[in-house]
Symmetry: C2
Subunit: 436 residues, 2 copies
Amino acid sequence: MKPVKVGILGLGTVGGGTVNVLKRNAAEIARRAGREIIVTRASSRDLGKPRICSTEGIAVTADPYDVINDPEIDIVLELIGGAGPVKDMVLAAIANGKHVVTANKSLIALHGNEIFAKASEKGVIVAFEAAVAGGIPIIKAIREGLSGNQIQWLAGIINGTGNFILTEMREKGRDFADVLAEAQALGYAEADPTFDVEGIDAAHKLTILASIAFGIPLQFEKVYTEGITKITRLDVDYAEKLGYRIKHLGIARKTGEGIELRVHPTLIPERRLIANVNGVMNAVLVKGDAVGPTLYYGAGAGADPTASAVVADVVDVTRALTSDPENRVPHLAFQPEAIKDIPILAPDRFKSAYYLRLNAEDKPGVLADVTKILADHRISIEAIIQKEPPANEKAVPIILLTQVTLEKEMNDAIAKIEALPTVTGQVCRIRLETLG
Amino acid sequence: MKPVKVGILGLGTVGGGTVNVLKRNAAEIARRAGREIIVTRASSRDLGKPRICSTEGIAVTADPYDVINDPEIDIVLELIGGAGPVKDMVLAAIANGKHVVTANKSLIALHGNEIFAKASEKGVIVAFEAAVAGGIPIIKAIREGLSGNQIQWLAGIINGTGNFILTEMREKGRDFADVLAEAQALGYAEADPTFDVEGIDAAHKLTILASIAFGIPLQFEKVYTEGITKITRLDVDYAEKLGYRIKHLGIARKTGEGIELRVHPTLIPERRLIANVNGVMNAVLVKGDAVGPTLYYGAGAGADPTASAVVADVVDVTRALTSDPENRVPHLAFQPEAIKDIPILAPDRFKSAYYLRLNAEDKPGVLADVTKILADHRISIEAIIQKEPPANEKAVPIILLTQVTLEKEMNDAIAKIEALPTVTGQVCRIRLETLG
């Protein structure tokens, strides 16, 4: 089947990241989509600017309409962002019969109703997974994964900059202004951070989430929005003492009288998973009447995470374009003929760190024997705890944490440790994964 | 458009839950799917057994083949579970040209390769979201939401019974056998809990996750599986002292040499979100090369959560059956003509609990004045902290947590509190949500 041809508007962070992901993972993506996906043309405001991606094989132009009007292109990716002339570009692409993928939350929140109506008239798809919570597939989860539910409410940490600031204030006792300056230096916050810290960016995203959760029109102008600029270290500390964390949440809740749409700083009990989402990470908690609470967590911004969502939308469009039985979402994610028989490793070839607990006689030299056996098998020790022997017992528990080792080495070492005359019973072993 | 007709095999927990959700949320589901979805026929082994659902309007039969061979039925839901005769039923439904939705993890893990091949031959869909992690849309997230990524590894708490046991052991210092007996009494664990505590159930689910993550055939027989029966309170305590939690994880990791597939008890640093997934809840952490780590959390079992996934699959099939432009996944989740203009509430009609911080003169009666104002507005106080005044200052900070109240009442009360001669400056207010 012939490749799907993609044109990109904007080669900045998101556009460049998307080019990189589409190239780096081209083989894996074609195995999933059933067709090759190639970028043939892109527009960029400043042709001389250094980029994060190679543009080899891509015709780069200064005029977005060169992309929009290219008859060869099947899908236009709008990755410029912001409001303004972008709306006209998207409408022009739709009028040309192109499918559109966008990462633009303000465009969808402010003009989505009009854009979707035009797309329906022309029979094209407009996909916008990347517009909310970056790489987290939250649009898909709510729109498709929870489609059997009445959504009761949702609450999200949907602005990474704000969450970074609140996390630093809590963990390091820093002041708002100080952390904001750092966030700007790190490139998390824009030179004008108003959209982030005053909750406008979060309100754009909440507008979209509320619409797909409840089946209501997009209506950004009705979101109550309060920023985090007035939160002091004092409040962060008091909240902590009371057992709470302060998070900048977007909340949409269906009540008997209507729908609450609000973005504001919020105390949350510290035992909730979402209270422990820190730094620039995003998370959305969704409460459905059937499924109960579900949470979706991941990176809410950045070149590659946002590209992850953009490319997923491109794959969705590609699968839909050819939705005969062989080209629907394949059962095992990859096309049947693309399933590969990669070897499954035997357990003794696994690599893992270990927790070991053994009982040994309380006399000199035992620990030396054990550590020598581990060293002989090139197993490094991360920590050792030797406990006092319990009353009336001669055996003392020794607990060891090791660094990552080959399971075969560990098996051999444990057999030798268990054979030591000073060690009684079996070694209890539990694998340890940092999941970092 | 005429309704989609569904036949159900099995009216136990999952089947009964599915009937309930399809009926309770019929209007919402039709708004999303673009067609009515109705259950016309169902089979049940024991026709006299009490059920969790009403069977009004459903022809109930003892023979599953009455459902499978009914020419009116578009989609067959296999909700019997287990291996054995169920495989033949699913193959018969496929041979009859029915689309199939199943919640059966062992069926897919053991016979999925064969079933999917037959489904492709017949051009029908076999959907199995409910087979892994109950209501969490994890199949969809990996198969569609992360389709731009090379998945590097995934790790999941995918057996609720095992997680309940480990959570109780840690939080309450209980013994394995004791908690297992309770889990059986509560109905979390089967009379024969081998599949849960020995990791076989988790291995079935890991088989499926690994296949869709890496594009490899389903191969349950190659999963290394170790149960939690040997974990003692001692190990749980030592792990905690070292800064770790013990979780029963299913791990699939792609290495240069091959793929590790393993289910075993695992120490995880306590700061990781997944280490804080407690009780019967499930979570899957997926690491993609573009998106980085993402986590999906929710109920892994139960009538309604599992039904949530089954119904989502039914909606997916329904949308695919009629995938002309108007019947694809709609932009705003609900069909354009089903978008409703539910009122968005003005902020003074929001309901929320509050954290309040105010500065007051350190003299008797101030607190009484404040609490009287709150009482006059029917605002109940949950907690009060009065701090010592800082050195050289007369004002003392007072922190209050209130119960849920109408925002209008809070606005009025705060205006009155700020007008008190003994209170200086503005009241700092932050909303508090338990998100329970």
